[in-house]
């Protein structure tokens, strides 16, 4: 079986006026189905750029990215939207919930674009909220929820479609330690259910949840090593 993610010689070059910024410089990477990967690296090293490409939100300037054996670079925007909708869940640092819209409706959003009936959307979104421990908060607006709860709504939105890949770009960057741990436990649980989780973080104890740690520097992989993972050190 093809690996879930296979990147060969990815380049991403931004042009700002006359200046060329090389955000990715020939990055290659393979990630298998079911892995839990932490990506680390200093600010500006190209982590978010990589995540956006892995999430089919952006295309590399050069190089090849295969997702589940399919070369993504050849796909049309609507096909990319379909992949984002069915295979990928996104969690952002700044939650990115739709304002003045209930937790339930936020979690429904991907299903809404999948064209499911309203009843199915509601049932699946409610189950996803239940899964992240927000049962009973379905009708709260984002402003009525704490940061940790908002991020859990975002995770519910990401997992409601049962994706094979969950991408989290600094999901705990805006959260206190307590909330961070709650979020990481949820991601850990999802990974144990078979979802591949790729996570960007600056924090060692957050990265410690993962089983593999990739450090990026100047748009290239600096180091790539297996780690023990928290489940082995702390126990279940």
């Amino acid at each position: 079986m093809a690996p879930l993610i296979q990147c060969d010689d990815l380049w991403k070059i931004y042009r700002v006026g006359d200046v060329e910024v090389q955000a990715l410089r020939g990055l290659s990477l393979t990630i298998e189905q079911g892995e839990f990967v932490a990506i680390m690296g200093s600010s500006g090293s190209g982590k978010s750029t990589l995540m956006n490409i892995l999430g089919c939100l952006d295309q590399p300037t050069r190089g090849r990215y295969r997702l589940n054996g399919v070369e993504v670079g050849h796909l049309r925007p609507d096909q990319l939207a379909d992949i984002r909708n069915r295979q990928i869940g996104f969690v952002f640092q700044s939650f990115n919930l739709i304002p003045r819209t209930s937790a339930l409706e936020n979690a429904q959003l991907p299903l809404f674009y999948r064209g499911l009936s309203l009843k199915e959307q509601r049932a699946m979104a409610a189950a996803a909220l239940q899964r992240v421990g927000l049962g009973g908060r379905e009708h709260h607006f984002p402003t009525q929820l704490s940061g940790g709860q908002q991020q859990r709504v975002a995770i519910a939105r990401a997992l409601v479609t049962a994706p094979s890949l969950l991408l989290a770009d600094e999901p705990t960057g805006n959260l206190d330690t307590q909330s961070s741990q709650e979020i990481m436990s949820i991601l850990e649980g999802l990974n144990r259910e078979g979802i591949t989780v790729i996570l960007v973080t600056h924090e060692i104890d957050v990265a410690a949840y993962a089983h593999r740690e990739i450090v990026i520097k100047d748009g290239q992989v600096l180091s790539d090593r297996a780690t023990k993972g928290r489940s082995q050190t702390v126990g279940v």
Partner: protein
């Protein structure tokens, strides 16, 4: 897809509900435009119907023949100057144009009419009895004169409502009274049912009818014996009018010995021609309405476009999120188009209500007749939909063209 539309409409309504003032101001252009169209079309329809009713008072399938040449606009030389139509013309037409059910003739002059110490200057019409049937005159009291009255040149008169009002006291019975026309005594034998204004705006009830022979011999003077001011005819079917007109023209040209290159020395008009002139007037009105409507709908549409562009900018991040979770271009376009159409349809609905109320008020306050047709309401609704669609297209496309990454990063 139905779930998508339904949810998007609900979302649109919620977003509009949040910015009620902004939405209201945005819709104002559409509201005013649609209201103006509804109110003015209703007034126009009412006026048109009134004119049609006036034209109907002329009679049924009436043909009118004047002496002299008349331009299309209805301006013509003085009726009396050219003595080209005669009683024998009328009688001959009846004989030789079978399409004509009947012909009648009339000659008129304004003269002083006296009843006791009251007097009035009114038009005296010497007519053939058939004139009354062709023009559909009926009576509120008394009745018409007969062929016998015509043969004996009897001094009898039929008078219209305006004459009654000016020569008689209220409640006084005119039938049987004697009035003097040019100092000749006439017995009133009938009072005509009122017809109101003619399509040209003259008072049709300011009228006295006397037998044609009496008028010739005792009132108008004998200088033009046998000549008439107007010949009237009528056909059974309205479709027969053009054919009848052609036949009349042939007969009259032959009788008047006009050569091939000579112009007619008479003019033929039908009820349909007269209706057409009125239609032209209402078309001018319609064009005016159309321009007012277009301008307001244009302004309203630009308002909607403007507010949507603001909305797209305000919600850039939201659009990015929607794209990130799998919204396709058509979903984003659909969302903003539905928002635009929700705005414009709400505006249209408000405009329709306002327009209908405005039309009703016009009837109550100014007394103008108004007719609210369901057609104009449907058209107004349709137009507001199209305005929303058209002016929503640009902002919606702008939203759908956003790059998801840049949209997500937008502050």
């Amino acid at each position: 897809m139905p779930a998508f539309i339904w949810l998007t409409v609900m979302t649109a309504l919620r977003i509009l509900g949040r910015n009620r003032l902004r939405a209201g101001l945005t819709m104002l252009g559409i509201v005013i435009g649609v209201a103006a169209v509804i109110a003015m079309v209703s007034i126009g329809e009412g006026a048109k119907r009134a004119v049609q009713a006036q034209i109907a008072t002329m009679g049924t399938n009436v043909i009118i023949i004047f002496p002299g040449v008349t331009s299309a606009s209805g301006v013509r030389g003085s009726q009396g100057t050219a003595v080209t139509l005669t009683v024998s013309d009328a009688l001959d037409l009846k004989k030789r144009v079978p399409l004509l059910v009947d012909t009648g003739w009339a000659r008129r002059d304004v003269m002083q009419i006296v009843n006791g110490n009251r007097n009035w200057n009114g038009p005296i019409n010497g007519i053939s009895p058939s004139y009354l049937t062709i023009r559909d005159w009926s009576f509120t009291s008394g009745g018409p004169f007969t062929q016998a009255d015509l043969d004996s040149a009897a001094r009898v008169a039929l008078i219209g409502q305006t004459i009654v009002e000016n020569l008689f006291d209220p409640g006084e019975e005119p039938v049987g009274a004697t009035i003097r026309i040019k100092n000749v005594p006439f017995r009133v034998i009938g009072v005509l049912a009122p017809k109101g204004q003619s399509a040209q705006g003259s008072d049709q009830d300011d009228v006295i009818f006397i037998p044609f022979s009496t008028a010739e011999r005792k009132v108008f003077g004998t200088s033009f014996i046998g000549s008439v001011g107007t010949i009237f005819g009528s056909t059974d079917q309205v479709e027969d009018l053009p054919e009848a007109v052609e036949r009349i023209r042939e007969v009259l040209r032959a009788r008047h010995r006009l050569q091939g290159d000579q112009n007619d020395d008479f003019t033929i008009r039908t009820q349909v021609d007269i209706g057409r002139v009125q239609e032209g007037t209402s078309q001018t009105l319609t064009m005016m309405l159309f321009s007012i409507a277009s301008v307001s709908l244009l302004v309203g549409g630009i308002g909607i476009m403007n507010i949507l562009l603001v909305s797209v900018t305000e919600r850039t991040r939201e659009i990015g999120v929607r794209m990130a979770v799998g919204a396709k271009r058509r979903h984003i376009v659909g969302q903003f188009l539905i928002e635009a159409m929700t705005l414009s349809l709400l505006g249209g609905a408000l405009g329709i209500v306002l327009g209908v109320v405005g039309a009703k008020l016009t009837t109550v306050v100014a007394g103008w007749p108004t007719i609210i047709s369901s057609d104009v309401i449907v058209i107004a609704f349709f137009f507001s939909l199209v305005v929303g669609l058209f002016f929503g297209l640009y902002p919606a496309n702008k939203a759908a063209r956003l790059n998801p990454i840049e949209a997500l990063r937008y502050e």
